[in-house]
Symmetry: C2
Subunit: 680 residues, 2 copies
């Protein structure tokens, strides 16, 4: 057998108290000091099992007394937990140190106190264990206020009354030591810990500590006084016991500003509220009547009214949301009382609805949009959102909260969806910028190997900065793998969406058609071509069409046109380039020399210092003129027509697309059309 | 008074039962139907107060009977909560509908059951309220499985035994209706709800339901059976009552695979574990012995052993971490048992430490690096991380968890820090790429208006993809506002860090000096100049130095040099450009014509078709030659010297920095040095 297997079997045999197997495995060469799990040795397990014989046997076979688990625990500290005096004695004989500590500073004495082992506690005490030792821990942990607790605190925390009694009465444990969180034994006794079962002993312990002069002003790490903790435990006995002490400040508040009475009313705990009111607790803090009303508790309300509580309408707290659109609703949400879902505050009713099934929320103070889903779906969504985290135009998840079988997905709050944005009468809209973002969003989604399948304006949201994000609120996306046709149907849908955007969202998405595009709208020719390319399942795909001339600036278009001449001037067949073999579309400006400003033509045909030239009506000649004009700028012309790019594109608006498509469709020239707008 | 104020006062007066004030405010014009908070009207509040007189008065003054709160609740459903029969009767008389529902489908009858109002329940029943009505809710909420519950379920949930009895025995309520989560009344009676105080009645209710034939196989939304829920409630009576039923499947599991016995052992609940074991629950599921050992519970272990449980070493579950470096530790963490901190699994001991105070973790299955801080500090850090979220090279926060007064900050796990990366013998290291990322990181931090103040290799971490992120583990960063000198000290530190990187991290950061940079290392001249610029608090600042020639590619450097000639050739003072007024550094290659390949010089001085020319030893002439050569490429030369850029930079390695600095320092030519490597 392999050594690892042997060792694993040895540890299992010890756990199963199978002494025969242990001996056999040691015989076969298993390592008596091998460690499993978080560092347990066979010796430590035998100690845990309280098997003195086996402990002795293992020690005789070379088990190391001082071996440590990952947390620094030794056989001796483990013996403190087991509480077996014979084993403790044996280990001491063999050389264990009475005050041995693990990494967190636990000694065997503390462990015995924690686990309520009276006999062991007394034995360790008799052998000189330090009673008031505070747990020493690493500097790193001390910085986090860990450590510093004593055996007495452990016994209090775990509510072993008899052990507390022994510690205080027989061993003189100091009741007022504070741990590194500044909590004394009283606070430990009152903390909701792991030991709800021993709840009853809390009362006896607290009484005992009070008798021995414990300081009732210690607070826990959240600033809660002993009184508040007793109220949280819903124990009238404890509250009564503490209220007997004059030093108690009944109106002291925790870090969140809650008094003991506020906690009691919040718990709808009439019995304790009565004790507090009768001892004179202030009733004018925390709008108690409102809280009682929320619980529909008439008896609580009556009690509070007897003690002079009245309802005071809350003055709105100062707070200004970032969102402009949702300002009023957010302020309302901020103001109202709502039970929290983790860190999320939400009031999922019509008034707070952003769009179908999506509500406003405040997550840890951040304004969010919240969609609630069933857990299974929510977990799948979260997986998807993790993939999105590096995408610029896919909606990101901000946080999520779980409650019962539901998940609340919280998104950074947006101002509008695409439809609302387009239909908003105010403000100028940059359609081209919007479409650039929309194209990029879909490209990013396709990169993640998903097709969207629901490209409608409600799925595009826009933040305060005008940035557009693609969402999938209806959960319609599908994996592309093996289904490339889904990509194509996304592109068709994108074509419709482009029309919807360019027509300002005036018609519903399903009704808008190419005829709705106004021929005098800016970039009409380019836009038309883009939409047709999308809906004809053009082979360029989304990546290629993202570089479509529609997205180019006017300057880029002009630069594109004017560089063509240089590239083709030496080609004897240059005219045939522009005879489109597929569409047979002809040059839209067959008489361009008559359309262009006379002056330009004259100046260009009669250059200074060089011999005269002539420009024919061919498209190539127009390109030549544009190139020559731009290379040899003429002050007079500039004065007359202004910016060259603007001028030419205005006079010949169909030129760019005509040239671009002609080049693209000509196998010899496709590369000339590979032009990139530097801003894209 | 303003109407809003009047209305607010009216509602407050009703809440305070101040009839006189109510009358006076109405007199003054307050709106009897004004709504406050989440839509409460004065009428609804008066109903809640059970003040029949005031209800009547408000109705007479025009209060709308059918007004709805935001959640759709009416005066009548509110009367069901209050349970006052006289008011219910009055509202019915005035026209309320007996089965009126709020948005969530609650009727007055359900409310009376929920709040334990027997008298009202009987009254509503007598007036024809539907007993077995299931709550109708919106389609959206029904999709989330909300709604469908009955009055009986409400009474069970809130543990009003007498109401349950009335519903079942007198009104014939159906015990086996299921809500939209598929839970019946039994499951509602066993859910840990808001009513821990009425815990005792759960036993009576469950007994009654069992007597009336309730289906014991119903499960809650997490797949928990009634038996598992009873075990969770730690109620031996309930467990015993359920175990009497033969239909119970004692080994049924919830969604997480837990049996009732596993839950009992997990709770260290010997009494219930005994009941289950004696009824034959399987002991071979969930490694119960291990769980009992974790609790150090010998009695539980003994009980389980009596019922044939044994310890079986767990076979490691299949799981492969993404991280290569931390593979072994992550697999260990994945395998071991750990109590969860929210969604975080962590074992904060040496074996799992990544670097000082930072431990491995698994957050919801994702590999993370975890730093624990005190809450106050953690919250401040989280605020900072939110600002970082759009930065590319600042370490981002993945998630955080809170426990007691500590916050666990979880970061995407990295493979190495910068020091470990540099010292790792394997793999080629691209120092330039690393420094680009480091510069960008610091630029991003400065953009957020923070100085780092602790730029040491441990604060740069590198992920699997080789991307570098800047962290601030020691919390040393400081706001720049009003302290611009902090930026400068960051730059000095950056200078040291650059040296540290370029020397492969061989010497500690504080000991490395400029003399450690090997003069034959690539980009030596540029690197030297960069370091000197950083440490001399150069006025270009971080932004400018990020465009330093060190970061340029060889091709870019060559392009930079060759374009200079065209820019200066017509300048009569071109030679003086290179007489540095500050450093007076002279041209490092005063005899460059002797250093360059003879062939090049010969070809360039004797061009074909053009007249012969001469190149002197001035730097400008070298630039001229580079320009001319590159413009008129010569096949023979190319064959001999290969790539021009590589050749010239190899023969004249100090040329780029010399030209660059000369131009930069000459007031007339600074702009010539504004060269951008297109990849930067």
């Amino acid at each position: 057998m392999e050594l690892n297997t042997l060792n694993s079997k040895l540890n299992a045999a010890v756990k199963n108290r199978d002494k025969e197997a242990v001996l056999e495995l040691l015989e076969q060469g298993a390592d008596v000091n091998s460690q499993v799990d978080s560092g347990w040795t066979p010796l430590q397990t035998a100690v845990q099992n309280r098997e003195k014989d086996l402990v002795e046997l293992l020690l005789d076979r070379g088990a190391c007394l001082h071996a440590r688990k990952d947390n620094g625990g030794t056989a001796f500290t483990e013996a403190g937990i087991a509480g077996n005096v014979e084993i403790l004695e044996l280990l001491l004989e063999r050389g264990s140190d009475i005050n041995e500590q693990d990494i967190n500073g636990f000694t065997a004495f503390m462990e015995a106190a924690w686990y309520g082992k009276e006999e062991a506690l007394r034995f360790l005490y008799s052998r000189g264990a330090e009673v008031n030792l505070r747990r020493k821990t690493s500097e790193e942990k001390a910085k986090l206020h860990k450590g510093g607790a004593t055996a007495l605190m452990d016994a209090c925390r775990e509510r072993h009354f008899s052990v507390v009694k022994i510690l205080v009465q027989e061993m003189g444990a100091d009741v007022n030591i504070r741990d590194n969180r500044d909590r004394n034994a009283l606070i430990h006794a009152l903390k909701k810990g792991s030991s709800k079962k021993r709840y009853e002993s809390a009362v006896s312990i607290v009484r005992l500590l009070l008798e021995h002069g414990v300081d009732v002003k210690s607070k826990d790490e959240c600033g809660k006084t002993a009184l508040i903790l007793a109220v949280e435990m819903e124990s009238p006995e404890l509250v009564a016991a503490l209220l007997e002490k004059d030093e108690i400040d009944i109106d002291d508040v925790d870090e969140e500003g809650n008094t003991a009475l506020m906690v009691a009313v919040g718990n709808d705990d009439c019995k304790i509220a009565k004790l507090l009111c009768e001892k004179g607790a202030r009733t004018d803090r925390g709008n108690l009547i409102d809280v009682a009303k929320r619980h529909r508790s008439l008896s609580m309300e009556n009690l509070l009214r007897e003690h002079k509580a009245t309802f005071v309408p809350e003055t709105p707290r100062e707070w200004e949301p970032n969102s402009k659109r949702w300002r009023a609703q957010l302020k309302e949400l901020y103001q109202m009382y709502r039970p929290m879902i983790g860190k999320l505050k939400i009031f999922p009713y019509k008034q707070q609805e952003i769009q179908d099934g999506i509500y406003l929320g405040l997550h840890g103070g951040t304004e969010v949009a919240v969609r609630k889903t069933l857990s299974a779906e929510g977990d799948k969504e979260k997986e998807f959102f993790e993939k999105c985290s590096h995408c610029e135009h896919l909606l990101k998840l901000f946080q999520s909260e779980k409650e019962k079988d539901c998940v609340y997905l919280c998104f950074p709050l947006w101002e509008k969806n695409l439809q609302e944005h387009l239909q908003d009468p105010g403000g100028q809209k940059d359609y081209k910028a919007a479409l650039k973002m929309i194209f990029q969003a879909l490209r990013e989604l396709h990169c993640l190997r998903f097709a969207h399948q629901d490209l409608q304006p409600g799925n595009f949201v826009i933040d305060l900065g005008g940035k557009i994000y693609l969402a999938d609120f209806g959960n319609k996306r599908r994996s592309i793998e093996g289904q490339e046709e889904l990509v194509k149907s996304d592109l068709e849908a994108l074509g419709r969406l482009v029309l919807f955007v360019l027509t300002g969202g005036r018609k519903p998405l399903q009704q808008v058609g190419i005829e709705d595009l106004a021929p005098n709208s800016p970039d009409y020719s380019e836009a038309l071509d883009l939409v047709q390319s999308l809906s004809s399942r053009d082979e360029r795909g989304l990546e290629g069409l993202s570089q479509h001339p529609y997205f180019w600036s006017n300057l880029s278009r002009f630069n594109f046109l004017k560089t063509i001449w240089n590239k083709i001037k030496d080609d004897p067949n240059k005219r045939s380039i522009f005879q489109d073999p597929v569409t047979k579309k002809t040059f839209p400006y067959p008489e361009w020399t008559k359309m262009i400003d006379k002056n330009i033509l004259h100046v260009m045909e009669n250059p200074r210092n060089v011999k005269r030239t002539k420009y024919s009506n061919a498209v190539t000649q127009l390109l030549r003129l544009m190139r020559n004009l731009d290379e040899h700028k003429d002050a007079e012309i500039s004065k007359k027509i202004g910016d060259y790019a603007e001028y030419f594109l205005k006079v010949f608006p169909k030129l760019t697309i005509y040239v671009y498509n002609s080049l693209r469709r000509n196998p010899m020239c496709t590369h000339f059309a590979d032009f990139q707008d530097p801003s894209l």
